[in-house]
């Protein structure tokens, strides 16, 4: 952890790699369907000829950039560019619609840099002790975590709980289609080869979020996003002031992101959702989450960026990849001949610490790079006429979905889900609960089956599900999330009634 590692991360080559990685990652992440995993997989051979630390810096920078880039499409097109940015759409798109898209993009950049730094600093100073978090989470903890995530549906669908729950349940059913991950059963395919691969999360995101937006763009004559005429100033200052006012939200969300990132079974999407839900639960009176509240964007973006550093903790300390991109980094290290796992921090310390400093540098570089690219992205989406925007984005959705695993089935499924999503949206069913069910369904199912198997084998089913301290903690939070909103509402209505009398 000496200063010399910081200096070796600052060599011109490493600095250039960090900058290139962040820029490339941001651009790739902003395109729905092109994920960080894919970008890393393609670029790994380039790193073979590099020093291990430089290779890691390049890969880490791309990863960081891609997670931030996912926010652009979420804010400007209501389509998460990566699964991590799902909760960014909740407030990002409403902000963009009312003409605050540039502010939202700048906020996302500040929050991402902040979250990324918190995650990287945790990796630098606390990696060995924090890696134990990954091991403390057993099947049952994942089960309860996903239940907690699903409870978010209650707070997301204000006033429409039934429809939210129906959507969530539908998403969970969709998640069971295809070959089951752990039991290897083939379920609900109705003999069709198209469905055997199941409903992929990225394809479903593109279908459920992007296609309805495209249909609406064509169906209404208005401009895509409202633009304030005459406003030419960059709104960085305003964004910075807002971010400063929400210090507490940023810190809390970044810590949530780091911790969730350490869990190999969760990831950026869960981190963003949990942080969003916490920000919403502790919201002040005047904050209207879901209608363009800046704190919603900041919570999600700081949390999902923090998962980058958090995810590297089990990857480097335990040799267990925290997220799919981490798995690729792990493979690249192995080819380089670097022994990962418990011995890495002691035996290959200089590589590890040079990399961590490189990651910090890349995250800091994301501030100017991200703001610049963000402004450009905003301008082009706003100024491009609809006749160009719709076919371009439509083309990207198909290419992006196909590129996930070169599968035509995925494109068909994406388009069908898109039309389906647009139709049910007319009846008040939102896309988010369906996607939540789709993402959390498998985590819940696997955790439940494994927990039940272990509990039944050791004759301790009740203790397994309710007797473990971490489970009890998550369960408590779930109950608070579920019970608090109705109670607050009831109190409010009583107050109004009293005022009326």
């Amino acid at each position: 952890m000496e200063f010399s590692h910081f200096l070796s991360a600052l060599t011109p080559l490493n600095f250039a790699l960090a900058l290139f990685g962040v820029v490339a990652g941001t651009v790739i992440g902003s395109i729905p369907g092109l994920t960080a995993t894919m970008a890393l997989a393609i670029l790994v051979p380039i790193t073979f000829s590099m020093e291990p630390a430089s290779a890691l810096i390049l890969l880490g920078a791309i990863y960081t950039g891609a997670i931030y880039g996912g926010a652009y499409a979420a804010i400007l097109l209501n389509t998460p560019g990566t699964p991590s940015a799902i909760a960014t759409t909740f407030d990002g798109y409403p902000m963009a619609k009312r003409g605050d898209g540039d502010l939202a993009v700048a906020l996302a950049c500040f929050a991402s840099v902040f979250g990324g730094l918190v995650g990287a600093i945790a990796l630098l100073f606390l990696a060995p002790p924090l890696s134990q978090v990954a091991l403390a989470f057993g099947p049952i903890e994942y089960f309860w975590l996903s239940v907690f995530g699903l409870s978010l549906i209650a707070s997301l669908s204000s006033g429409n709980l039934m429809k939210g729950l129906v959507g969530g349940a539908f998403g969970m059913i969709l998640s069971t289609v295809g070959v089951a991950e752990i039991s290897a059963d083939i379920r609900l395919t109705f003999g069709s080869q198209t469905l055997i691969g199941g409903f992929g999360v990225v394809g479903a995101l593109i279908g459920l979020y992007c296609v309805p937006v495209l249909i609406d763009l064509v169906a209404v004559p208005d401009r895509h996003l409202k633009v304030e005429e005459g406003v030419k100033t960059v709104r960085i200052g305003e964004a910075f002031a807002l971010a400063m006012r929400s210090k507490f939200n940023l810190i809390r969300s970044s810590i949530i992101g780091t911790l969730v990132g350490i869990l190999p079974g969760a990831g950026g999407s869960v981190a963003g959702l949990v942080a969003y839900s916490e920000a919403k639960r502790t919201a002040k009176q005047d904050q209207k989450f879901g209608e363009g509240e800046p704190n919603g964007i900041m919570a999600t973006e700081s949390a999902n960026s923090a998962t980058v550093g958090g995810g590297f903790i089990p990857t480097l300390v335990l040799g267990i990849p925290g997220t799919p991109p981490d798995a690729i980094v792990l493979g690249a290290l192995l080819v380089q001949g670097v022994r990962t796992g418990p011995a890495m921090f002691t035996q290959s310390g200089s590589i590890v610490f040079t990399f961590i400093y490189g990651l910090i540098i890349a995250t800091v570089l994301m501030l100017p790079a991200g703001l610049l690219i963000g402004r450009y992205a905003y301008k082009s989406i706003v100024t491009v006429p609809k006749a160009v925007l719709v076919p371009t984005v439509g083309f990207m959705t198909i290419i992006g979905t196909f590129a996930i695993r070169n599968s035509v089935s995925d494109v068909i499924i994406m388009l069908c889900l898109g039309v389906f999503g647009w139709v049910v949206a007319r009846f008040g069913f939102a896309a988010s609960p369906i996607v939540l069910g789709l993402i959390l369904g498998p985590i819940a199912e696997q955790g439940f089956v494994q927990g039940w198997t272990i509990g039944a084998a050791t004759n301790n089913l009740f203790g397994m599900f309710f007797g473990r301290p971490i489970s009890q903690g998550i369960l408590l939070f779930t109950l608070i999330t579920l019970i608090l909103p109705p109670v607050v509402k009831w109190q409010k209505s009583r107050r109004y009634e009293e005022a009326d009398q």
């Binding site: 070959v179 055997i196 079974g265 798995a327 272990i454």
Partner: protein, 317 residues
Amino acid sequence: MLRRTLLKTTAAAALALTFGVQAHAELNGPVNYIIPFGPGGESDISARLQQPFFAEKFGQEMVVSYQPGGGGAVGWASLNGLNGDGQTIMGVNLPHIIIKPAQKDVGFTTESLNTFYMFHFTPDAIVVPANSPYQTLADLVNDAKANPGQVTMSGSGKASANHLAQIKFDKMTGALTTYVPFKGTGASVTALLGNQVKAQWGYTTVGAKQGDAVRMLAVAMEERHPLFPDVPTFKELGYDMVGGAYRGIALPNTASAETTAMWSDMIGQINADPAFRQKMLDGGFAMLDISAADMPAFMADRVAEYLKDAREAGLIK
């Protein structure tokens, strides 16, 4: 009529001649190497290890991409629809490509895959955490016999190499353990290190990666793995268990015999490189050299054994 037949024959002969001349297959640009799983697993790692050797020996890049889904079935079902010009290859895994089609119609059959080389296998191994009370395999077996079902063992998936090994071993010892399936070896190791289960049905690669954090009680090899001279084989301990998960590569079945032979030769050359073998052994893998010519006999043996095991275990009808 006769003239037309003659013409046709001449045309056919001419065609055959042209193809005969072109029969010498060669690579034409970068090669697409599809792994039908996500990144980070044993299939991915071994492909990544091949990557630099391939570029060095044959002057073309090997681009690894992932096509996960259906436990590999999505990839294998699509393989024969891809171009058979030798620019696209796909990883194949045993027992997956034998068990899956035997369970249900998954869009491919074992015989339909043009598997041209089996280049390594990861031997089955029983792994326990470093602080486990089980010092030897006998400790674990005795505990499982004294407390039927109480010894929980994690593994990757159901009807998988790990699962088949568990069923087979239980039958051999007469003990009863509980198998807990996880999503991939990574998740199964995490459960082991977190003491969520008492032991793991894993591979020698787990021992290589986790080092001092775990202890392997036995490995399913003919002889001890060079990386772990202190870990006994099941055979030494009196259990006739040799095997694991085998990995190879296949071409679309439209590929010509020449292309198939060329690929079998190329992968064989990489496998023969001492530096590559050393990297594989350091990673805990065990080498295997089944070329295209030996494949039919090898596959027939494996099919017979896996189907018998799976049928006895009630995994297939």
